[in-house]
Amino acid sequence: MNIINIAWKGIKTDFRDTRTLVFMLAFPIVLMLVLGTALSNTFTTSLPVDDIDVLYKDTTMGEYFGHFISEAEKSGLHFKKVTGFIDGEKEVKQGNYDGYVEVTDQGIQLFVNNGTSIEGTILEGMLSSFVDQYNIASEIIKVAPERLESAFTHENSVNFIKETSLLPDQQPGSMDYYAIVITTMIILYGAMSASSLITSERVRRTAERLIASPVRKSEIFIGKVLGSLVSNSLCILLVILFSKLIFKANWGEHPGLVFLVLLTEVVFAVSLGIGVSFLTKTSAGPTVIIMLFVQLSSFFGGAYFKIDNPEGIFKLITDLSPLTWMNTALIKIIYANDFAAAIPALTINLAGALIFLLVSIISLQRREGL
């Protein structure tokens, strides 16, 4: 009963503390809004392509290229025949056209301004396709001209390569992403308040009164930790609900598992805070250490900007961030229904928490008073 008494007192005073509420509730919500809105372009997976304007010169006698032009027009490619003294190559260089095509009996030559531009690549791909079909037709005519029509009938023009996205429409948008990473970051910040769970009692001198009462040190410790866990979890729940309902952030179809993973991070953060407070001797020590740890974890864990495919030493550092494990696990659960991804995050969080709690318990047992 004393444990619940102490925990309840902690929860009550946490929710009365305006600074705690602002930090745990308003701060992540504002950060989600700002980063989710400001960096939305970073998360766009489609690229808009405008109409493609092409100059061409056809010196052949055939009408095949003309057919190609009329079909290509349907896809937004606009061909204009070079007339008079217009220099096609120069026009492309000056950026007036996206490409210049010269069609001769020897073949097709394409001039584009930038070989890696999207417009140039599209144009090159379409012309290659046209040339391939032309060559096939030429070969068929040589050996079996009667089969030409059947070879190119509509029924046979099936797609031999079907391109399908492995995760169709299953990539987080900017708000979805920042809802996850800011939530995991703010949980880690919970270590700050946890670091003062016991030290604040010493500073306020209430530790003496607690120890003078017929309550075991273990009960005080468990009560304090429990209160902090509940307070932090409630704050996180409110942040998640807000981001889901107001920002329409995607938290997936398995909220139970997602929240369970987040809960283990809360346990880790609270244990980290209380553990560091026992390991350091100065009152400012825990704040400095935890602030540094959280900031670095946030930076390398992708809380401020998304880190794609890190390599070498950078990958090693990002892998050390608890937020990397958390964010990876949550994104896999939410966007790939990969439940197994929860296991490493759960294991690391709980193992870390266990270590810090053991350190705290041993220190507390050795200490006179709290």
Binding site: T13, R204, R205, T206, R209, S213
Partner: protein, 312 residues
């Protein structure tokens, strides 16, 4: 019956012996005064009685039971009023008392009654919904006491409960201490204010260097000092007083100056009053009154320890 009994108690901090083989007993119904300068060992002793510190040696008995073996029983019967305010600023007066009383197993209606009773006792019933941050120093001290008495302990330990408060609040607290005693509580009281201890304590122990150097009633302690007398000389201005020169006069044991009052402790066997007056006159100090007093507790303390109680 003894509410508290200490046998050969010792506490060391590294090489420093804070409490040195101390033994004492406090009978039921006493207001027991603990006198000692800073670092004398009284707070360490009190903290060991309250269970805040572990002793290196010796035993403490609360109501006849060993406090180490029966820790819960001992703590249930002790109310601790720490020297520093031990209250939560972010909880109301009612919530503060309720929280601490709840740790002693009180629940429901009984808990509520005890909380109200404690707040009424310290005169804060009208402020039960207020937060301590809006309280004066005296009110905070009273709340500090309320948090220690709601569970009706048999033994209340008050460590400097009147530090830094106005005279009105001090009187209120001293009256409360007497009332608690009349209600059957045994009280251990420490203070830097000798007059407080002299006023309310029925039994006093003087501690120095971790040892009890004198113990007894006020009269018993004063009777220790038979060879000195106190001479209090009020002057217009004590700014020019030459303490060293006064001390050099034959028979003068100790001198303290309190505003315009020069307090001289002197050997009863030496007639040196004329020389003292001559010296003050030579310093062109205008004497307004002169009183010869019997030794008080301060004199006893000064004589036994060689320093004032408020010396740092």
């Amino acid at each position: 019956m003894n509410v508290l009994e200490i046998k050969n108690l010792t506490k060391k901090f590294a090489d420093f012996i804070a409490v040195d083989n101390m033994s004492l007993s406090v009978a039921e119904g006493e207001i027991f005064g603990f006198l000692g300068a800073n670092g004398a060992g009284k707070s360490t002793t009190i903290n060991m009685i309250a269970g805040l510190l572990r002793s290196n040696d010796g035993e403490i008995y609360i109501l006849g039971k060993n406090s180490t073996k029966h820790s819960r029983f001992a703590k249930m019967n002790i109310g601790m009023v720490p020297q520093d305010l031990a209250i939560y600023e972010d909880m109301t007066a009612y919530e503060n008392v309720k929280f601490f009383a709840g740790l002693y197993g009180l629940r429901g209606a009984e808990l509520h009654e005890r909380v109200v009773e404690a707040l009424e006792f310290v005169g804060l019933e009208d402020k039960h919904k207020s937060y301590p941050k809006s309280f004066s120093g005296g009110m905070k001290r009273r709340l500090n006491i309320a948090c220690a008495i709601a569970h009706r302990p048999k033994l209340i330990i008050m460590d400097e409960p009147t530090v830094g408060i106005d005279p009105q609040s001090r009187n209120y607290i001293l009256t409360s201490v007497r009332k608690l005693n009349e209600m059957g509580c045994t009280i251990i009281y420490t203070s830097h204010y000798m007059e407080e201890v002299e006023e309310i304590c029925s039994h006093i122990a003087i501690i120095d260097h971790g040892k009890i150097i004198a113990e007894g009633t006020k009269e018993q302690l004063k009777s220790i000092i038979t060879n000195t007398k106190d001479v209090w000389i009020e002057v217009k201005s004590a700014e020019k007083v030459d303490v060293a020169a006064l001390k050099s006069i034959n028979g003068v044991e100790a001198i303290s100056v309190d505003e315009n009052m020069i307090k001289i402790n002197s050997d009863t066997g030496v007639n040196n009053l004329n020389k003292i007056i001559e010296h003050l006159m030579s310093c062109q100090m205008e004497i307004r009154s002169l009183q010869e007093k019997a030794p008080n507790l301060e004199t006893v303390f000064l004589t036994l320890t060689g320093r004032n109680l408020r010396d740092q």
